[in-house]
Amino acid sequence: MSKLVIQGISRQFPGVRGAEPTRALEPVTLSVADNDFITILGPSGCGKSTMLRIVAGLDQPSTGRVLLDGAPVSGPGPDRGMVFQSYTLFPWLTVKQNICFGLREKGMAQAEQDRIAARFIAQVGLKGFEDHYPKMLSGGMQQRTALARALANDPKILLLDEPFGALDNQTRALMQELLLGIWEADRKTVMFVTHDIDEAIFMANRVVVMTARPGRIKCDIAIDLPHPRAYTVKTTPEFAAYKARLTEEIRAEAIAAAGQEGH
């Protein structure tokens, strides 16, 4: 059974001062299987983040609906964990308190919160930083905390909106390995939005390519690389073949997107 079903969702933004409304997302239909890791790949401005925000319940679709385990999504909730591109740790809470935010909201006993927090702090490699405030952390550490915060809530699906987009290349590669390792251990259903082809192939079982705005699904490619994957998979011929194919697919859209910016 599909964990997440997206049924014909589209999104229009009203025009400013009498202008035509902007069509950000054409009707999109997509399902995500339980325990799958799917990446949504597309040029910037293609509506992929809009789609993710609708799944999270932070935005409402103009048409269509989203079903999670068969139940329609009407607003944000703890069953869909989210990691944002911007740094969204609560600056007044320590690393540990940030990770416990959702648990406390559930009214969980402190001892139980501590136990769960300790587990995820260890999993994202932040032991020793429990009592640090976000401003004392590097960008990579902040995003690892954000990942732990989303995972600690034990969501049914993890939504990631270019979470490593603001990090340098080396940190970004390490974060990909970290996330992939977590997925390989727990097989939590993941939907990951990115414009980085390597990132999309390396972590995913399935890459969905979107067109330039207004966004539609252009193709849906299964990534048949064995798990567990190490970073060395990026230099294999199979990886290169996927990359060549996706580069072709995305290049046409990037050109289209660049052309639109002139208007």
Binding site: W92, F101, G102, A150
Partner: protein, 259 residues
């Protein structure tokens, strides 16, 4: 030395700050001790210090200071207790903002000192009138400034909280309030400074004690030394309260220290 936005070392910062005070007092002494400005209009620094000594030893100036401090704090605390929750409500709920914002924006421009004759009519010349001046001068400013701070809450933090399961109360008590707290404290520090200017105005009229009253009395006696000493004391108390407030804010909100 004049590199834009380049920080200065702490030592140089203190030295420059003191240097300006010294230069100011030197200019003051130069103008008065040489007789360029007659002492009838401006007492020299020495006379001012001696006048201050007389004030403390013979006129019980400490009691005056005590009364003024109590009026400022009393009026300010009442204003803050009412204004902070209202400001938070206005910033959080756009309906409350639509209801109150136009009136508060208007009331903010009503000069507190212009209310003094009316307040004397309503409340007499007692403490209630003094506290009311401070209250009127502070309350609308605090409401508006806090509404703006709360309204500027980072939306991405609210969204993150909602994806973590927070509902309305969770968003208000666990995101909006802690996020705005340091700036709210900073606003209170600023408005407390303004309250000091209102209290003196309130004491210039119809008061029988307080720093402002002392200054009025000294004017009758043409004692510029006492007048200047009173003004300097107000400045010093302001400086001390500002310093204490800053210290408290740094202790309370270590996470927001900008470095």
């Amino acid at each position: 030395m004049f590199e834009p936005l380049k920080p200065v070392s702490p030592g140089l910062r203190i030295a420059l700050g003191i240097a300006f005070f010294v230069a100011f007092i030197a200019l003051w002494a130069g103008l008065t001790l040489t007789g360029i400005v007659p002492s009838l209009f401006l007492a020299d620094p020495l006379k001012t210090l001696m006048a201050g000594w007389t004030l403390f030893t013979e006129y019980g100036f400490l009691t005056d200071i005590g009364w003024t401090v109590w009026r400022v704090l009393g009026g300010f605390v009442v204003a803050a207790v009412i204004a902070v929750p209202l400001g938070i409500l206005m910033g959080t709920f756009k309906t409350v903002e639509a209801l109150l914002e136009p009136f508060v924006s208007f009331a903010r421009y009503l000069p507190a000192s212009a209310f003094i004759p009316l307040l004397i009519l309503w409340a007499g010349v007692g403490e209630a009138q003094k506290l009311s001046v401070i209250f009127i001068g502070s309350v609308f400013q605090i409401i508006l400034m806090i509404a703006v701070i709360v309204g500027a809450t980072r939306r991405d933090l609210v969204e993150a909280a909602r994806t973590l399961g927070a509902r309305r109360n969770g968003v208000v008590y666990r995101v909006i309030l802690p996020g705005a707290a340091p700036q709210i404290a900073e606003t209170l520090r600023l408005v407390l400074g303004w309250a000091w200017t209102y209290v003196i105005v309130a004491e210039l009229i119809g008061a029988s004690r307080g720093i402002g009253h002392m200054i009025m009395d000294s004017q009758r006696l043409l004692d510029t030394g006492q007048m200047i000493f009173g003004i300097v004391v107000i400045g010093l108390i302001g400086l001390i309260s500002d310093f204490l407030f800053k210290l408290g804010n740094e202790r309370l909100f270590p996470w927001s220290l900008s470095r």
